[in-house]
Assembly symmetry: C2
Homo-oligomer: 243 residues x 2
């Protein structure tokens, strides 16, 4: 369910408070086990993670990459500042590993839905952001909830993007079926659906890209509670075949 | 909505017929614009894409990779036969580019949910399979439908897997927002949600891995009609940064 009526979010906004008032005006109520899916952009805004590009002075590396990838050098400076390494660049795309451990285009820095001359950075720790919002929403509603914060990531071998979880709380991000037998008695080996990412994609279907619906409620999905966060989904360096 | 009551599928089964009878026994009806999501496994079964491993003779390359990745050499032979190239191998994983153009683990060859001693191969052309099923289901129901055939793919930098579309018909696989303005007047540059993949992930949430629910119905998603198929989502070689 899309949650309509979330107003403009600014630095310092209390997202759980905005969710509660949008629920009231929508005549919706949260139930136990609901997953509240929240777009990264409003979390970044609330946490003051917007940067005015006029205040950014690009360094030498940023000037180099901005030339080869035809991007604003100030934006490139932010992309590099938010990264620990550049994984690939080409065709106007720069893929980095972010400080949070995600591999994505532009370190998750982007300019949509925030206003001219600004760039938004990913929350410093989206699992922590999710935990804070969950605790506050639980206290206000008395319900046991899960939170998934989502962003839109590309995929290396497929055009287009899907929303994925970049932070979560109150939900185990994946479900392991390892060692469990299928209907024929075959023991599954690697099956581990990344539940938060499927929830993120499902939520995106009702949120859209142009409408101002940055929050959705996913109901009826069974999941385990866990505080490992999305960071527990990051492929460890030694198992990563695509560094 | 999960569609319960699909019986065991065998080579030659007519999937649209099985869907119709499962709908009847579930007292469900398809509506115009419904997306019928179907797991690859039953499509492969219906199309006779199961192989008895006893009939597979591993070649030299298969013996080499099976040793280094500790896999059954007969399974490795099938994986190589289904591929056009090996992209990476390591840690017991082999990532290939399939003849269909997908980059995934094991060329999509797998052994779950089919019975002992067998391996399933991907449909030869899942877009064509989807088209065939759509036409037959449309003829039987009189409704305008879309079909998405899904499989479970891993991701290079994230643990766990999500279901993605490997074939579709009656639906444009992604939605381009390029050049469209957000609420602040900023023209979006690369935004192109991969709708079929988000639909696939959403459907997986109700299908599960152990229950025999290989079909789900997704209702209420707005999409465009198009016959480009999932193959139109494949990143062209010259734009692929992760060959």
């Amino acid at each position: 369910m899309p949650l309509e009526g979330i107003p403009e979010v600014v630095a310092g906004s209390d997202i759980s408070e905005l969710v509660i008032s949008a629920l009231e005006s929508s005549k919706l109520e949260l139930k136990d086990s609901d997953i509240v899916v929240i777009k990264q952009k409003i979390v970044s805004k609330a946490e003051g993670r917007l940067v005015n590009l006029d205040n950014v002075i690009p360094g030498r590396r940023a000037l180099h990459y901005s030339k080869s990838q035809s991007k604003d050098p100030r934006l490139m400076e932010l992309i590099l500042q938010e990264s620990v390494r550049v994984i690939r660049s080409g065709h106007g795309v720069i893929i980095t590993e972010t400080k949070q451990g995600f591999v994505c285009a532009n370190s998750g820095v982007d300019q949509s839905n925030i206003g001219k001359g600004l760039a938004s950075l990913l929350p410093i720790d989206s699992d922590r952001s999710a935990r804070r919002i969950r605790k506050s929403l639980q206290a206000r509603t008395g319900k046991r909830l899960a939170i998934v914060i989502t962003d839109t990531f590309g995929r290396p071998w497929r055009k287009g993007q899907t929303d994925v979880g970049i932070g979560c709380s109150g939900i185990k991000p994946s479900v392991s079926f390892r060692g469990r037998a299928d209907a024929y008695g075959y023991a599954l080996r690697v099956t581990e659906p990344a539940l938060v990412d499927e929830v993120a994609g499902a939520a995106e279907l009702v949120m859209g890209k142009l409408s101002r619906v940055p929050v959705a409620i996913v109901r009826g999905v069974s999941y385990k509670r866990d505080e490992g966060g999305v960071k527990s989904l990051i492929m460890p360096r030694e198992r990563n075949l695509f560094r």
